[in-house]
């Protein structure tokens, strides 16, 4: 007991002394890895744990799993420092090796942890050999064919070991390698390499179940300078298209005018007889309009007379004062008038009307005619004078005096005075329009109308509804185009006579026939009130929309800006008064007693 204790103490002191001196038993070694390159031999490496300041020796011991016999490493040298090489004879497959390394020096030894190794699981082949990279020129373009050989030690021929290959390629400047798997074959074609560049190639291999080998040394290959077929094709296509574009542009340029015609067809311009477009283009509208002006129209003299005449005529206040235009509309369809918006009263200014008749009638004799002409003049005068005044509700006379009415064409020889006036008489006659045919000729007023008509030409179209009971309500558009220049040599008719519109033919011409025509069909009683047309609405381009008024109870209303919204005929409504928005003189329609509208039109003064 004492001895052992003393020995222990001494040993302890010795160790301490030795440690103070810097020497110690070796550190624990560690087996780092074991590898078999061909599944026939293998090598294990260890790292020392520290030699403790004294020369240390290492020994590797192993035993197989199914025996207890411990063997020492047969070869410490072949594989280098701190390694143990197991040759073929010492290598058994599918058997676990239990390997330990013992480090020993003068002071003691140290044993590493045991490691179980099965050789078949630690296979890592050597690198492939003889890597070559060759540029192959193909019709598609050059590519690189990389070929190599198997590592010398691996016996793939018998199938003992199966190797899979992998190669990688990059340019010197690239960061990432491009990897390709070659399977079990020993060559590989690399495409899509850039021309005139140098590439680095490396190859490695791996067994079917094992570790990858190291990469081979770099093999360099330089691609030749060539233009890829694809790029040359694109260049050709581009040049071709540029060429085509140039040709097209030049052709378009040459044929510029016809192309313009084709793409932007000419818009038919307005054709106004007597209207000189060139003159308009050249400049002054004055000149243009002057050509259309009929001299002496409107009559600017004798306004008083006109007024007087006007007053004389209306002897019945309750008479529906015709919308002056209303009468006229049936007497003479007026296509347009710049300033006279009489509500549909036909006048000789209608371009479809037989202007000759108008003129003749105007020139003709007859007190009535004269009256009417004067009346017309009066009206003209009145309109002119009251151009800017608003019509006011009041006596029909004053209203009439202010209103503008168209002088009526009176083909019938002896109308009663009030008949002749385009007044809404109690028993309104038919608003007659002088027949276009010759035997009814307009009277002396025609010249005025003629002038008026000329002025009409200037204006926009208007629409009229035909109040004649016989005819359906329709809007007739009186086109500028259809205007007939009033013939200067219209024969004057000897008498005035009412005419009525028989029908409107397709060319928008009113066919008139005199009221005294025996062939005329009797009219229904309900037409009596329908001779007068009521202006329902004036459209934006100064067209009066006439309405068939069936009701006796149209409100006598005077309004400036109401608008009828419906256009169905039998509909009591408030006649509308529109502000013309064309800059023309204002027109106002005044509703008289039983709903007829008295339109007052302001004539422009020339």
């Amino acid at each position: 007991m004492r001895n052992s204790g003393a020995v222990l103490i001494l040993t302890f002191i010795a160790i301490l002394t030795l440690q103070a001196a810097g020497v110690s038993p070796p550190g624990k070694p560690r087996l780092t890895s074991c590898r078999s390159p061909e599944k026939e031999t293998f090598t294990c490496w260890w790292e020392p744990g520290g030699d403790g300041g004294l020369p240390t020796t290492y020994a590797l011991y192993y035993h197989l799993e199914n025996s207890e016999t411990v063997y020492e490493c047969p070869d410490y040298r072949t594989a280098g420092e701190n390694s143990c090489f197991f040759n073929k004879n010492d290598t058994s497959l599918w058997v676990n090796y239990n390997i330990t390394v013992v480090a020993s020096n003068a002071l003691g030894k140290n044993i590493s942890d045991p490691v179980e190794v099965d050789v078949v699981y630690i296979v890592q082949p050597n690198t492939p050999e003889h890597v070559t990279a060759v540029v192959v020129h193909d019709e598609q373009g050059p590519f690189v064919r990389v070929s190599w050989e198997k590592p010398r030690t691996a016996d793939t021929r018998s199938g003992w070991i199966t190797l899979l290959y992998q190669l990688r390629v990059k340019q010197e400047k690239d960061k990432e390698w491009e990897e390709y798997n070659a399977g079990m074959q020993k060559y590989y074609n690399v495409f899509s390499l850039h021309p005139d560049k140098e590439y680095m190639v490396q190859v490695r291999c791996k067994p079917d179940h094992g570790f990858w080998s190291e990469w081979t040394q770099t093999t360099y290959v330089k691609m030749p300078d060539y233009i890829t077929r694809e790029r040359s094709l694109w260049i050709m296509i581009t040049i071709f298209f540029v060429f085509i574009v140039v040709i097209l542009t030049w052709t378009l340029n040459v044929k510029r005018n016809s192309v313009k015609l084709c793409l932007l067809p000419a818009v038919p311009g307005p054709k106004i007889k007597g209207f000189d477009k060139q003159l308009l283009k050249s400049g002054k509208s004055e000149e243009v309009f002057n050509t259309l002006v009929i001299q002496g129209f409107p009559p600017t003299t004798d306004y008083d007379n006109l007024l007087v005449e006007y007053l004389e005529v209306y002897d019945n206040e309750e008479q529906e004062l015709v919308q002056d235009g209303k009468d006229l509309s049936e007497d003479c369809m007026k296509s347009k008038s710049p300033s006279d918006i009489d509500s549909g009263r036909g006048s000789c200014d209608s371009h479809t009307l037989l202007l000759e008749k108008c003129m003749d009638g105007r020139e003709g004799s007859g007190s009535n005619q004269h009256q009417y002409s004067q009346h017309g003049e009066t009206r003209w005068a009145s309109t002119e004078s009251s151009e800017s005044q608003d019509p006011e509700p009041g006596s029909p006379e004053s209203a009439n005096g202010r209103g503008k009415t168209w002088p009526v064409v009176f083909p019938s020889p002896q109308p009663q005075p009030h008949h002749h006036y385009p007044v809404g008489a109690a028993k309104p006659a038919y608003h007659s329009v002088p027949e276009i045919l010759n035997h009814l000729s307009p009277h002396a007023m025609s010249s005025n109308y003629h002038q008026l008509n000329h002025q009409d030409i200037l204006q926009q179209e208007r629409r009229f509804s035909k109040p004649a009971c016989r005819h359906s309500q329709s809007y007739n558009q009186f086109n500028l185009d259809g205007i007939d220049t009033p013939a200067p040599g219209v024969a004057p008719s000897p008498s005035l006579e009412y005419v009525e519109v028989q029908r409107v033919n397709p060319e928008n011409m009113l066919l008139l026939r005199p009221l005294s025509d025996p062939n005329r069909e009797p009219e229904g009683s309900d037409c009596t009130r329908e001779d007068y047309s009521k202006v329902k609405e004036v459209t934006s381009n100064n067209i009066l929309l006439l309405q068939r008024d069936m009701s006796h109870q149209c409100v006598d209303d005077y309004s400036q800006a109401d608008q009828c919204t419906t256009q169905q005929p039998p509909h009591p409504c408030k006649p509308a008064v529109h502000q013309s928005n064309s800059g023309m003189p204002q027109e106002a329609i005044r509703v008289m007693g039983n709903g007829y509208v008295d339109s007052t039109v302001l004539m422009p003064s020339y």
């Binding site: 021929r157 018998s158 199938g159 003992w160």
Partner: protein, 210 residues
Amino acid sequence: MTQGSRLYFAVTVLMCAFVSINGVGLNDLLERASQLSDKLHSLSTSLTNDLDSHFPPVGRVMMPRPSMCHTSSLQIPNDKDQALKIPEDELLSLARSLLLAWSDPLALLSSEASSLAHPERNTIDSKTKELQDNINSLGAGLEHVFQKMGSSSDNLSSLPFYTSSLGQDKTSRLVNFHFLLSCFRRDSHKIDSFLKVLRCRAAKKRPEMC
């Protein structure tokens, strides 16, 4: 006589054709078989890795020795020289015996996989099932190869597997599962190696593959 000789000649030609066709067939069969065995071993390796990811250290201590695998009694070549000396049919019967020995244990593994005390249980379960399928296909393929080879004797070794359960507690079950799997991994590598040797031996016409 002439007719007889002609007949004999025709039969010979046909037989030669048949044999040559068979030869090609054998090559392809072996190619397919080695692919299957490769897949088998890869699966078992990945299963082992999954299992190792969460293996209790104590298990390593408890692990039975590999020599206790039920197939350890089979005499197999231990190195290349021995292996290359073995004739083809013997190699084939070795492979088939091993394969046959594992059909029952794999069934056990498959049934136990779902109740393993392991976080990767589901993956292990699915892979085990896949292993079973693979083994069945390979077994059938090897049957064909055997018939194609036309060896007379069928000397399959019997390697019975007597274990019916992996254990009572979950740790021992896990350990036994791991052990059984490691035995299988090794045996699958053997099968794979033998078949690949066979493949290259039969592929005289395609030396570039071997």
